[in-house]
Structure formats: C-alpha cells, structure tokens
Amino acid sequence: MTIMQIIFLITASVTLFAALMVVSTRKMMHAAMWLILVLFGVTITFALLETRFFAIVQLVIYIGAIAILIIFAVMLTRRSMNADVPQVNRNWWLVMVSSLALFVGLVTVMSVWEGFFVTARTAPPGGENLVQLGTALVDPNGFVLPFEVASLVLLAAMVGAIYVAAERKEK
C-alpha cells in the first residue's frame, strides 16, 4: 500500500462520512458545512488523480461559489425552516431499498466492464502545467465554451442569490 493509497482511503472515508452527515444532521447550517467538507474531499480526490484542472475548478466553483451560495440561502431562509419535523417519513424504507438497488445495480454493471479494473494512466510527464491549462481555458479548440457557459451559470445563480437576499432586506 502506497502513501497515495492511504491518503486516498482516508479522504474517501472522510468524504463519505461527511456526506452522511449532510443528510442526517438536523441543523441546516451544519449540513451546509458538512457539504463543504464533502466538496473538499472530492477536490483532494481529483488532485490524487493528477487532474489538476478539475481540482482547481472544483475548488473555485464548488467551494468558492456554490457552497457560499448555499450558505447564503440557508441563512436567509433559516426562519422558515424549523427543525421540529421528524427526520424521516414513513417511506424511508422504500427510499432505502431503491437507493440500494440503484447503487448495487450500478456497481454490478460497472464491475462487469473491463475498464473498471484498469489502473489509471499516469499523466504524461510535465503534461499539465499551468500555462497549458490557462491556454486551454480561453482556446476555442479547448474549453472556452464550457468555461464561459459555466461562468454564466454562476452569474445567474449569483443574481438569483442577490435577488433573494435583497427581497429579505426590504421586508
């Protein structure tokens, strides 16, 4: 077992645990915090896979923007969210069963695929440096369109958050 594998295992279990906490904690604010931890775990996973681009994007967009938005939203709607209602409803078993079925099914399907057992290719030596990344982000033959669209998505989300917040202030 290499160091990398150990780090991966730790990250994975922390991420999973945090994800579990997101859905089980009773306080919305705490759930949001746990979510940030989950996203952070995913960032580390990307880094471990040596896909620095995705790691950065994950860090900037999900933690930097989306998580902040969610915290905003949670803070602003705190009053209408009460923690008195039960955590689960009477359909919980059905959800459990179907989620499990989905999970098991997907894992089974993937496990019959030969690609599942192939070790990841290591990135080409010196392949992904920051200059290349920067160019790729603004190159029409690279990722400029997805990148721009993603930023537009963020813009829309931000406008929305501000809209919601502004209304509250007036009230």
Partner: protein, 481 residues
Amino acid sequence: MNLSDYYAITPLVFLVCWAIFLLLVDLWIPAGRKGITALLSAAGLLIALVLVLRSGEQVLTAFEGSVVVDGFSVFLSVLFLVSALAGIALAHDYLQRLGLERGEYYPLLLISTSGMMLMTYAYDLIEVFLALELLSIPLYILAGFSRLNLESEEASLKYFLLGAFSSGFVLYGVGLVFAATGYTDFPGIAKAAQNGSLNPTLFLIGAGLVLTGFGFKSALVPFHMWSPDVYQGAPSPVTAFMSVGAKAAGFAALLRVFVVVFPGMSVNLTPLLWALAALTMFVGNIVALVQSNIKRLLAYSSIAHSGYLLMAFVPYGNASVRSDAIAGMLFYLAAYCLTTFGAWAVVIALEKAEGKGLELEDYAGLGHRYPFLAATMTIFLLSFTGVPLTLGFWGKFYLFSTAVEGGFWQLALIGLLTSLISAYYYLRVVVIMYMRPGTPQVQRNFWPLLTSGVGALAVVILGIAPGVLLNLAVSALLKGL
C-alpha cells in the same frame, strides 16, 4: 485565435452580452419604470431573432465540433426567442400589478433563453449538460420571483431540489457514456457505437440516465411530479415561458442526442419510450379531469402534450419514419408554443393578487362580459383538444400518423382515447365561460391582450393552412440534423 467559432454562435453571444448589459443598465433605471428594461430586453431578443434568421443556408460547425448550427437549431432558436418575447409581453403589466416589478426578471429570462438556444446548438454531451443548467438555474429563480408569496418560494425550492436531483442523473449518465466510449462529442460517440468498441450495458444505462434528465425538463411521467406544483406556484408569465421553453428544450436535447448518438440503441430504448409516452398521456389527461384551478389544469394538460410529443418519437430508430417524426414534433412544438402563450395570456388577464381569479369558476360569464377573451380562449382550448381545422388538430394528426407509420398503432390508439378524455376538461372551461352566469374581473392590459389575439389569429390561420408551418419544419430538417 479564430473568430469564426464565435461567428457561428453570434445570436447566442449577443444575447448573453445583452443580458449582462441589461443587468448593469437596470441599476440606473428607477423602480416603477422597469418598462424600459422590458423594452430593451425585447429589443435584444428581436435583434437576436434577426441574427438567427440571417444565419444562412449552410450548416456551421464550431468549437471543435462541439457546436453545430443547422436548420434544426434555427427553427428551435426562433421558437425560443419568440417564447421569450411572449414571456416579456406577458410579464411587464403582471409584475407591476402584483407588486413584483424588479429589473432582474428580464436578464434572467434572457440567460435562460440563451441556455435553451445553446441546447439546440450543442453537439457534445458536456455542452448539453451545461445548457441544461444554464436554462434551468434562471428558471429556478424566476419560479420564486413572486416575493413574499410562500407558494412561489415553495415552487422555486421544489423545482430547484428536484431539478438538481435530475441533473445529477444526467451528469452520471454523461459520465457512463464517456466511460463506455471514451468520447463526449456526438460524432465520436456515434462512431464508437458503430464500431462496437464500447461496453453496451454501460452505454445503455448511460442513455437511460440521460433520458431521465430530459424527461424531467419535459415533464414526462414519472418525472413530472414537480410540474403541477411549480406551474401553480410560479408567477404565471414564468409558468408560460417555462412550460414552452423548458419543455421544448428538453425535447430538443432528446431529439438531438437520441437521433445522433443513440440510434443503434433504439431496439432497447423503444419499449422504454413507449411506456413513458403511454404513461404520460394517460396520467396527464386523467388527472387533469379533476382539477379546479386553471393553472394546475394547464400544468396537467402540458404533461399530456409531452406524452403526445414523445409518442411520435418512439419509432425514432426507424430511419424511414424518423424525419417525419422530427418534423411532426417541431410542428407540434410550434403549435403548442402559440396555443400555450395565448391561453396563459388569458389566464393572466383574469389573475389577481394572491392567487385569486384562478379557479375555473372565476371564468363564469366571461363569454358575455369579455367576448374577445372568451373567444380566443375557446380557440386555444379547441386547439389543445385537437378539434379539426385548428392548429392543434394538425399537430396531433402528424404525431399520430408518424406513430402509426412507425408501427405503433396501439400507442396512437392510447393517444386518441386520452385526447378524447382531454376534450372533457378543455370543453368544460368553454362551457363555464359561456353557459354559467358570472361577473369575471379582467385586467385589460395591452400586451397580454395582444399576445392572445396574435396567438388566436396564428392558430386559426395556420390551422387553415398548416402546410406553411410544416414546410418550415421539413425544410429545417433538410439541412441536416
């Protein structure tokens, strides 16, 4: 740097820039005069419309083939831009009346429209996903645009949560398709599928998950549950825009992705589509029977129409029927767009603050008090029902005949029977308007009235000469899909 890539998507670039420009300009427009923003955004949409129509005959490919501008994109782009125009025409007075006048409405609408347009250009699954998000996120906000109205806020949140849920499925599906083939762009995937150099099960599961996401946007049963609540809670102009734009965008994605990427999978996907179509037609029409709120009624009716649309798509694997099916669907979408905006314009004319004026009983006496509104509403309802010589009839006719042509006469039969059921709830509104005494109160604002008038005229004229519209749809496809 090569500008020709941007040249291909000029309308889109323009629309986005205009939206951002509006966001800034709006800061200097005093509250109470947001009509200026509305006019500016309408102007932007018109310019974009011109840019779209100008785009010539040839098929443009850009951004390494991840974007394709062809007849299909142009037809649907026009549809979306017209929808956005109608969404603005319906909104301005409405927002003022209900004390919701805020400039953000218009840029958000424009951004959502640009997402829909991107959906028609997208030739890469990543693009498709981003377009889906780009069109959805502004809609989530717009659905909750009615401030201080809990219903609207609830609608927004429901839409957002379930939308995010379904986006997750799409993304997972895209991931699986990528895993199975090693590509995200359509030609690459299609080539891999042809070569057989992929994992069929994984590929199929991926397709299924992608279908889920599109089904959610187009409100196919069982992914439809959000739509009645959201349609009812959201401000009516938003609902109108959503019920046309989001649905059409969902179908645009479905058409493009399934025809280009998954034609080989049709043997396996067809039974699934069959079941979805049948369920959607059935549930939409049956549940609409017991609705007493006009917005919910239209929501279920919109679900049912998704069912009809999907029905024509079931034989998509059959190459001899495919182009007929797509032409029929484009025709139907255009017909649905005209009819829906017209009907919502009437709903908006009767709607009052705090969700009043939306019960079917509120329409009693409309026929005597406001013959124009009642007449247009009757035209729209008849068209929804598919009464011969309305636009809706031809739409249904083309859809049903493709289903039969493709060998799915049972499905066409289900469609026929359920549209018979639909006649009951549509005509009930007509009966209430004309036969029951009542004193309905109507806001006679210019733009909604214009929208319903233009819609009615178009429904009637194109109902008499459907060939014009069908020709447009067919010639849009001649340029390739």
